[in-house]
């Protein structure tokens, strides 16, 4: 069970959280303006990286805030977490 650093509550056990998949996939500002392929990519296509990944978490059974975390999908080590709208401080790309 992961120990996830909630930016609001600190380290909390994974069972308090709901995973939200890849982070920083912007919803097109004007969805009606994008073509079917671009829309499909927004909906379904994912980097699914082996290595560093920015992902979304919701502290569902805690402060209920959504936030982002940088995690290595090979070691499962979490490098940092940051609030919605913020950028990670260091380390990662994506």
């Amino acid at each position: 069970m992961l120990l996830i650093p909630c930016p609001y509550c600190g380290d909390r056990p994974e069972i308090e959280f709901r995973g939200g998949g890849e982070a920083h996939i912007a919803r097109p500002r004007d969805p009606q303006a994008v073509d079917d392929q671009a829309w499909a990519e927004f909906l379904f296509y994912r980097t699914n990286p082996k290595g560093l990944m920015a992902e979304r978490w919701n502290h569902a059974h805690g402060c209920q805030r959504w936030f982002n975390a940088l995690r290595d999908t090979v070691s499962d080590r979490i490098l940092e977490s940051y609030r919605m709208g913020e950028k990670p401080s260091g380390g990662g790309s994506s």
Binding site: Y8, P13, E16, H61, G62, C63, Q64
Partner: protein
């Protein structure tokens, strides 16, 4: 006209007689979910006797208990029957400031868990570190107890904890704690 509100007591989700020395259903209370921007809370400090400018996951205890469960969320608990009064007080204190106040008095059920083994009993299902260093008296947080979500308020070092859950989970939460209590006193 049948006026049952005044005559009939609120029918609690849990039988108050089901209390064991360590685990007791709490009497009905007035409760609100209060939401506002963190800045607003800092600015006003407290409202209707509820202190709001607390760190996240801390509570100010007393007859008007405010638990800050998130950056913009407070659980307010007061004595039963104060709903309208508190609503009015908060409305006038906050005025036009963006906030949401929702009556959840009946949504939640409170349980009191106390005694030397209280933390161990809770840890049968709560995954948090309940040591006084990690969760000192005055802490409050939403978390889990087994398969139910709870709000856990560490009231004092007796120790006493207040466990709040949604009413339909109350029999489970109560049963879970009683099962956990068997490890200690056979009760």
């Amino acid at each position: 006209m049948l006026e049952i509100a005044k005559e009939a007591a609120r029918a609690a989700a849990l039988d108050p007689d089901a209390a064991t020395p360590a685990i007791a259903p709490m009497p009905p209370a007035t409760r609100f979910a209060l939401r506002m921007r963190p800045e607003t809370a800092t600015e006003i400090g407290s409202v209707a006797g509820f202190q709001l400018d607390l760190p996240i996951n801390r509570a100010s205890l007393g007859p008007r208990l405010a638990a800050r469960l998130g950056p913009n969320e407070w659980l307010l608990i007061a004595e039963d029957g104060e709903t309208e009064a508190i609503e009015a007080e908060i409305a006038s204190a906050l005025g036009e400031r963006f906030h949401a106040l929702v009556d959840i008095s009946h949504r939640n059920v409170g349980l009191s868990v106390r005694g030397a083994q209280a933390a161990d009993m809770l840890n049968a299902g709560c995954p948090l570190d309940l040591s006084t260093d990690a969760l000192p008296a005055g802490s409050a947080t939403r978390t889990l107890l087994g398969k139910a979500e709870i709000v856990l308020i560490h009231e004092d070092d007796a120790p006493t904890y207040r466990v709040e859950c949604w009413r339909s989970f109350a029999p489970y939460v109560h049963g879970f704690l009683q099962e956990a209590a068997r490890d200690f006193d056979g009760g």
